[in-house]
Amino acid sequence: MPKVTIDGKIIDVPAGTLIVEAAKPVGSHIPVFCYHPKMAPAGMCRMCLVQVGMPKMDPATKQPVVDENGQPVINWMPKLQTGCTTVVSEGMVVHTTTPQVAEARRSILEFLLTSHPLDCPVCDKGGECPLQDHTLHYGPGNTRFYVESKFHNDKAVPLSPLIMLDRERCIQCGRCVRFQDEIAGEPSLGLADRGRGLEVTTFDDPPFNSNFSGNTIDICPVGALTSRDFRFTARVFELNDYPSVCQQCAVGCNVYLGTRDNLIRRVTPRQNEAVNEVWLCDKGRLEHHYAHSPERVTTPMIRAESDLTPVSWYEALNFVANRIRPTLGESGKSMAGLAGDRLANEDLYLFQKLFREILGSNNLDHRFGWSQWNAGDALVKNFGAGVGTNLGELGKGVTALLLGADPQTEQPVLRLRLSKITRQGATLVVANGRATKLAQYASHKTIYRYGAEAYFVLGLVRAMIDAGLHKSDKANGATEYSAALNLTVAECAAKAEVSADTLKTIGETFAASENGIILFGREFMYAMQRDPAVEAALNALLILSGHFGRKNNGVIALYPRSNSMGALDMGMTPTDGGMPASEMLTKAKLLYVMGADPARENPAFKNPGFMIVQDLFMTATAQKADVVFPASAWAERDGTFTNTERRVQYFARALEPLGQARPDWAIIQELAQQLGAKWTYASAGDVMNEIAQRIPTYAKMTHARLQVNARRRASVQTVGGDAAEPVQMALGELIGVVSGAQWATFSETNADAKFDVKFVQPADSAQATAGVYLAVTRALLDCGALAQYSEIIQTRVPDASVEINSHDAEAWEIANGARVRITFESKPPRALELPARVDGSVPPGVVAVANNLDGTMNLPMGAQVQVTQVQVSQAIAD
């Protein structure tokens, strides 16, 4: 580790460290504009100039020359050096406060300001602007650019429905362009022209169409890129930034909810190096609008006569209690509870407690609709990736195997994090039945045949055993297993339609790797449900590879929703003979639906007799209810979610509840009290304390502990003072902030445990044999339950289409864009008419449709379909 001296302080830093980074721990502030720690240095703005010297070496002895005081003689470099591009080396001496450095900073700022409009009073960035901050600290007090020809340029260029560009304010730092290129992998911005005319532009059509575009607003060091969602709605110093967690997917990105006058004005990322680093996807940034929708239910309602009529809480709760009380104790069996997995742990915990302890029913589920595909619970419980695993940090010695997943649209920020790990030296393997965005970053990528997932994994296991790389010390029945596994790698490869070499390489690489992680997504979970051999094979791969029970080893289930993991942990599953969701709808007599809308996806859904719906909106299900309880939006109360990496994260309350809406956990408690329970939770924190006591994996997970680093944001800059957190974050000055806590899996807490490996023969019937396989995909921005309330999201929702392989399209005589009909072999039979997209992301024999767009809701995943061209009658009409 090179030893460097920065402003007189000596520090050891790893080889390869840049001066700007080395200066952070010693507390020397080197101002930057173009440099961002997550991106490669560009050396553009020249703001970070510092004085650098190297010890003079005696060529004979190769030792530093010392002066009469025994101090090394320093050769100062004749020019100042950019701290953001200069790598430290042994003995280097850096000065950041000399008059020359101060003069250089002053000059650069003076230059920048010669073409800056200085419209801070009407600029969204004003108050959290690095240019303002640096100017205050290091800039000239006034300008010597007295000439009249100040730079003028376009003030409001709509780059996209989300982003407005002010060309005058742009300081040409290139961060936005480089973000899209290096981090998002969607190079939709570019610089054009040159000199003072250098400008940011987009080449896309539709313009700047990226799932991650909003991040460029945050990292733009000036107010050149502004959010059209937030523009002019508040000054940033009027906002209260509350720490929260995005509720839109299982990544659980940390956010700030910036509120003013009890409205969320904007959502910005909150740094958590173990979750989202400093990024968000556009969905997470925009989807908060639903919280303020005028369509929110704000009073309790009961069905009087035929209509739902507003009543008081007292009446509504009484109404329900009276209906339930007579059946209490006698038969809870006819009562069922269905809860959405977007709800907080505290809500889900009390919900199941109400059922199990008060109503005496195990009829509990959260798996319906989108979440019905959740699977692999046992794998997660036993072998979830070890505590301390940080997917964004994976590097040398780690092999990550991504199976049947498409994080680009389903866990977007996770995709960003996995994209970079090969650059850090990790081996990334991407396998799915179709091509996905992440595959372009993979060290090994392969497309297997949908339906042959079990063979694919068994091939990896076989390859591992053949190479003698398997470990049996924690396995029961390893020998029997390898004898029972009566398939060769070549046979598995033939079934999965991949090459035997691919299976061999992946299997051996994974097994031989020091650390191994398996991430499996929705498409793989679907396969697990269809054929138990898939989960058994994964189980064997994990146990025999020994990749579990410690950091950077184990599985991660890429569940669909923000708290799918928590729903499992809280026990929202039909244990001990309880009914699953699929039966509730026909067998239950009383149904309590919380934060879920089964009727939206299933038009045949009926009120089973008596139905309580607790929600934010008059959903399709609520419209059929007997009682509606208005629930608070997540921003109106606090709680915790558990993300896909089993990280439990705290979100604070940012808003006053709307109307009479109450937090879900509070409503459940009131009902329980009506039914005689002696519950006395004063807050969600109280509920969490009980969870921490009663659920072993959640031991010590109190709100207080989870709140560490999840605080309200320090206010904006103070004149001449230290930069505020938003500026520090925009500049990438915060280092290594992490919050939340991961729960430990069984294999971690029971180091000596052994696990059974059993061979399960793949069910050949499960493999698609003839016909075309329907792969269900997801669009990130959709017209889903919550997204519909964001106008900007709605402008960016793609049109539904069916992806067809070009060879199939040729065989079926279907041209790109032609309208085709897909007919499902399902019960009841269904058909869809959609334009064809012939773009090669699906292999022959597979067609793909996103099931969250207009007209494509609730497709039967994995169905066999028929595709036919639809006669276009329009031509005749014209």
């Binding site: 703005c45 000059s107 650069i108 230059f111 010597r144 040159r194 000199g195 250098l198």
Partner: protein
């Protein structure tokens, strides 16, 4: 003594652009010798020993540059800099148009030395004629087995691609040239890494000027020892001087480095033959717009890298622009300021903003709007740029201003007034 050109051989053999004529006059003997008798290292060593320095401006020792390529990393590339965009520079054009085969032979020899299988010639878009001639020369060389697969029966393969630029001075800067070759916006890269390690398409790359490589065939043919006898101890070999401006006979003149003075070049009968209208010399630019201006008092400066540096300027690409006694120096400087403002790529702040600011000040002074304050600001702005830019262009941009202020301050003073309201003369 009249020097018999070894670079501009067309001066003596006008038909040398014909490949037969070139062959009859010793063409490709160096290549044959190298491929048959020399290893790539020996070719590099010969060039090292010759003392040849880059003719593109920076004067970096060529053989040394070649030896920086990391061992065992392939593919590697040779990118030839034919962007020739410095004002007053037109030597590469004459070489490519009139003596193309020697240049191409030089490219092949150099590519062989660095073991590159694909060389690129990045030629400025304003040279369509030269680009066509090069493509024909490449085709002819290929036809005769000097290029393509298994050159002259050896195991060595080489392709050469001619790439036309799109009119940006900055694309002559070597890393911007690589960006442009890759199809990106022509902007310099941060160094390190140097192109020798991470160059074109991320691979080790050597970049050399056209004239530099045209020196290689004679070095290989006649040997480094012979070559070292030409020129001075530190600046060996011949150099092509581009003379333009107020002279009677502008053009390219070849002479050994250090063998003649500025006076010889401007007034000599075999060179530019004096200033038009028998006028006196007022200013001399030695490296186009990029170097500080010299004056009549420097006429006896010898033309080699060291002597010109000692006089306070740089020899660079040796583009000598002569300005006579009637030249309005601030006016001429404004032209150069405009050039740099226009050519700044905009990647780094001081150059992007500073070149504009300097130009605005120059314009005020030249249009009678200038004040003493503007004159004060000029060197301030220039010095705020100096030493802080990403590439040398920003530094070049300060040369005309600082150079002319040093010698011709009175001309500026005569143009400014207390209130910025001086009648303009023109």
């Amino acid at each position: 003594m009249i020097w018999e050109p070894i670079i501009l051989r067309n001066k003596n053999i006008p038909e040398i652009a014909d490949i037969d004529v070139y062959e009859r006059n010793g063409g490709f003997t160096a290549l044959k010798k190298a491929l048959k008798e020399m290893t790539p290292e020996q070719v590099t060593d010969a060039v090292k020993a010759s003392g040849l320095k880059g003719r593109g401006g920076a004067g970096f020792p060529t053989g040394l540059k070649w030896s920086f390529l990391p061992k065992g990393v392939f593919p590697r590339y040779l990118a030839v800099n034919a962007d020739e965009s410095e004002p007053g520079t037109f030597k590469d054009r004459e070489i490519m148009e009139k003596n193309p085969h020697q240049f191409i032979e030089g490219v092949i020899l150099s590519a062989y030395a660095i073991q590159c299988a694909h060389a690129f010639i990045y030629i400025r878009g304003e040279y369509p004629g030269a680009a066509n001639i090069l493509e024909q020369a490449i085709a002819a060389a290929k036809q005769r087995g000097y290029l393509g697969a298994q050159i002259l029966g050896s195991a060595y393969d080489l392709e050469i691609t001619v790439h036309r630029g799109a009119g940006a001075y900055i694309c002559g800067e070597e890393t911007a040239m690589l960006e442009s070759l890759e199809g990106k916006l022509g902007m310099p890269r941060v160094k390190p890494p140097f192109p020798a390690v991470v160059g074109l398409y991320g691979k080790p790359t050597v970049i050399n000027n056209v004239e530099t490589l045209t020196n290689v065939p004679p070095i290989i043919d006649k040997g480094a020892d012979w070559y070292k006898t030409i020129g001075t101890e530190k600046s060996s070999g011949p150099k092509v001087f581009c003379v333009s401006g107020h002279v009677n006979r502008p053009g390219n003149y070849e002479a050994p480095l250090g063998s003649i003075t500025l006076r010889d070049l401007i007034f000599g009968a075999e060179y530019a033959q004096g200033v038009r209208g028998e006028k006196n010399v007022k200013g001399i630019l030695t490296a186009g717009a990029s170097a500080p201006m010299l004056t009549a008092q420097h006429l006896d400066t010898k033309l080699d890298y060291e002597a010109v540096a000692a006089a306070g300027s740089i020899l660079g690409s040796a583009s000598i622009i002569v300005l006579d006694e009637d030249t309005d120096i601030p006016w001429a400087t404004q032209k150069m300021s405009r050039f740099f403002m226009h050519e700044s790529c905009g990647k780094c702040t001081p150059c992007r903003e500073g070149t504009y600011w300097m130009f605005v000040l120059m314009e005020r002074i030249n249009t009678g709007k200038g004040t003493a304050r503007d004159m004060e600001m000029l060197p301030i702005v220039a010095n705020q740029i100096l030493g802080r830019t990403l590439c040398p262009l920003g530094e070049f941009a300060t040369s005309p201003v600082l150079g002319t202020l040093k010698w011709f301050k009175h001309e500026y003073e005569a143009k400014v007034s207390a209130d910025g309201n001086r009648e303009t003369e023109k």
